[in-house]
């Protein structure tokens, strides 16, 4: 039977976890606190890039402390009720084998992804569970900023670093040794570098290239290695100058970026490169069609449509062009820049809208559209009532400031 090496060589002890010494120390310290009773921070947030060992550390911790553990993933239906029932029960009840003296670790995987999946108050449930828990809880996330601050505040936050290529290389060497694989040192080095700190990806790459061969040579690798964002400009240039549909498509696919993000890059740059206005019109036509497919894919959750979008946006700019191209520096899409600049503001807007929504029994979209401005006026001009509202909604300083600023827009 096929068994992924990522599972087979998963550390069962914290001391075996690759290269996260400091984080592991903090985690152990937190767990020891639980052995003595409920600590001030009942939950732990492990955040860091993919493949840096978040889940592995959580699982190893449970084993090492002899705790029972349950794991809830984003693929589970994470509605308010389910979370409250499963996580809530697990968090306040003893274990089947040791009774009230036994501990159970509740692992909430992809904790930065709860709300966006179903607008059903997942975070509210998490908050309630955190408040009542008598068992240790670990939240796992890639992006800490996606988690509401009230939840962050009751978590001890531990950051996992992106693993260094050297430590990934060493981990790969160990696996090769145990699997009896003869590996060219340079090949392992390449895999480690291409993984960009993602040990899981590195191990998968190693397994893909070495399975059934008992050796890992550098010339077997080329196919598997990911082209990472670092060369997005290079890829983009390739697409815009591709000479056939097939070529453009291959180049786009080698870019590890979802099409709805890639289209931003392409539409920012492709039209600027074409000298002839007619070419520009044709390119825009193809891109806007691609965009229609993308939004259909998103709305109807039919990601099969991405294929059509990709073809249109990859092939369109290169094939539909008759005229010359201008050579100029490629640009980061302006939407990405705007996004980045308004991130702080958007975070506040979303968190306030969520709070208002849950208090006013409406969706956060309605709250955002119709409520925020009025609240802003009240907060700005009526101190007393403003304060009462802020208290009722449990607004943070930043959120209150944001509301006031809305009025001026």
């Amino acid at each position: 039977m096929f068994s992924p090496w990522t599972e087979k060589y998963k550390p069962s002890k914290l001391s075996e976890v690759v290269d996260q010494g400091q984080a592991v120390k903090a985690v152990m310290e937190w767990a020891r606190g639980w052995e003595r009773g409920k600590p001030a921070k009942p939950a732990l947030l492990l955040y860091g890039p993919p493949g840096s060992g978040k889940t592995t550390i959580a699982e190893a911790l449970a084993k090492e402390f002899g705790w029972d553990s349950i794991q809830l993933n984003a693929s589970d239906k994470r509605t308010f009720e389910v979370l409250k029932r499963v996580a809530g029960e697990a968090a306040t009840t003893g274990t089947l084998f040791e009774g009230a003296g036994g501990r159970r670790l509740v692992i909430l995987d992809e904790a930065d992804n709860i709300h966006s999946r179903s607008d059903l108050g997942g975070y509210r449930a998490v908050r309630e569970v955190l408040g009542r828990t008598t068992n240790p809880i670990i939240l796992i996330a890639n992006d800490r900023r996606a988690i509401p601050s009230e939840i962050l505040n009751s978590c001890l936050q531990v950051n996992l670093r992106r693993l260094s290529p050297q430590s990934i290389e060493r981990a790969l060497e160990r696996i090769c040794e145990m699997e009896g694989i003869e590996a060219e040192p340079l090949a392992l080095k390449r895999i480690a570098e291409a993984s960009r700190g993602d040990l899981r990806a590195a191990i998968n790459d190693l397994q893909t290239s070495a399975t059934g061969k008992k050796r890992c040579a550098i010339r077997d690798l080329a196919l598997y290695l990911r082209d990472m964002e670092s060369n997005v400009f290079q890829v983009l240039g390739g697409i815009l100058h591709a000479s056939s549909v097939g070529e453009a498509r291959r180049i786009l696919w080698s870019l590890d970026m979802p099409p709805d993000e890639a289209i931003g890059w392409i539409s920012e740059n492709a039209p600027l490169l074409a000298k002839n206005p007619l070419d520009r019109a044709r390119i825009y036509e193809a891109l806007s069609r691609a965009d229609i497919f993308l939004s259909r894919a998103r709305r109807k959750q039919v990601y099969g449509l991405w294929g059509y979008a990709s073809d249109l946006m990859a092939a369109g700019p290169s094939i539909l062009r008759d005229g010359e191209t201008v050579s100029r520096r490629l640009q980061v899409p302006s939407s990405a820049i705007a996004y980045r600049q308004t991130r702080g503001e958007r975070t506040f807007r979303e968190s306030v809208a969520r709070k208002v929504a849950s208090r006013c029994h409406t969706s956060s979209r309605v709250a955002r559209k119709h409520f925020l401005k009025y609240l802003g006026v009240i907060l700005k001009h009526d101190r007393k009532r403003g304060r009462a509202i802020a208290e009722e909604l449990e607004l943070t300083e930043g959120e209150a400031e944001y509301l006031k600023s809305v009025v001026d827009l």
Binding site: D68, I70, E89, A90, T93, G94, L96, F97, G99, A100
Partner: protein, 246 residues
């Protein structure tokens, strides 16, 4: 099997705790053991071959059953129906035939479930009591009125259930010698607190006139044993206690 009630009540009680389960059919009978998704409750179901009118299993099989679906089907059984369970291997489904005045056949596709080897928790219980199902049910319904947890207690003087919440409280006493208390064996006074909802769900497996065996230990899980199929089979639940916060 001539008595559909066994399946109906057992499935009806288990379905609230577990969504799907692997039933193992061997020459000796049917077994199922599973934990709920919170790892808080364990179900142990054991129906020996002799509890069936006819029982024929040529080789042991494990059938993954979606309990919600099975429960819907079982709710269509009439009390005078007899039930025939058939496993159709090539179609990977279970067919259930209700034989009464007519014969009705349901087909239920099976799912892949890993058969998990759960060990039975070894617990040193301090007390064993046998109580009439009706009494426990009343106690739980009372408890639901005031709170979401209930404390079970057994000592030399009897068996008690206690619940409180928001200033309200309720207590049920069953003193030693009472008719509804068939057995009171206390090696050590024991008490522990549990989620009412889980217990109520489990009690759905009980016939009100049956006696339920309860094993209790201080801050230990509780074990409830229900006699099924006239005492031939066994359905037990183990439920972990609430951690009482100071």
């Amino acid at each position: 099997m001539s008595d559909t009630r066994v399946w109906k009540t057992c499935v009806g009680a288990i379905v609230n705790l577990i969504e799907e389960a692997a039933f193992k059919f061997t020459g000796e009978g049917v077994r199922m053991r599973a934990m709920d998704p919170s790892h808080v409750a364990l179900v142990d179901f054991d129906l020996p071959a002799k509890a069936f009118d006819e029982y024929e299993v040529s080789k042991p099989v494990v059938l993954g059953i979606v309990l919600v679906e099975l429960n819907k089907i079982m709710s269509r059984a009439k009390s005078e129906d007899s039930l025939i369970l058939e496993f159709e291997e090539e179609k990977n489904r279970l067919s259930l035939v209700f034989k009464g005045r007519s014969s009705r056949r349901f087909n239920l596709p099976l799912v892949d479930i890993k058969e998990s080897e759960l060990p039975e928790p070894k617990l040193q219980f301090g007390a064993t009591v046998r109580v009439l199902g009706e009494i426990i049910q009343d106690g739980l319904r009372d408890a639901e009125v005031v709170g979401d947890t209930v404390r079970f207690e057994a000592n030399e003087s009897g068996f008690f259930m206690y619940s409180e919440g928001d200033g309200r409280s309720v207590e049920l006493k069953l003193e030693k010698g009472s008719e509804a208390l068939a057995k009171l064996e206390v090696r050590q006074p024991s008490r522990a607190m549990f989620n009412v909802k889980y217990l109520s769900d489990m009690l759905k497996a009980a016939d009100m006139k049956d006696f339920i065996t309860i094993n209790l230990g201080t801050d230990l899980p509780i074990k409830l044993d229900f006699p099924i199929a006239g005492g031939e089979g066994r359905l037990s639940f183990i439920l972990a206690p609430r951690i009482e916060s100071e």
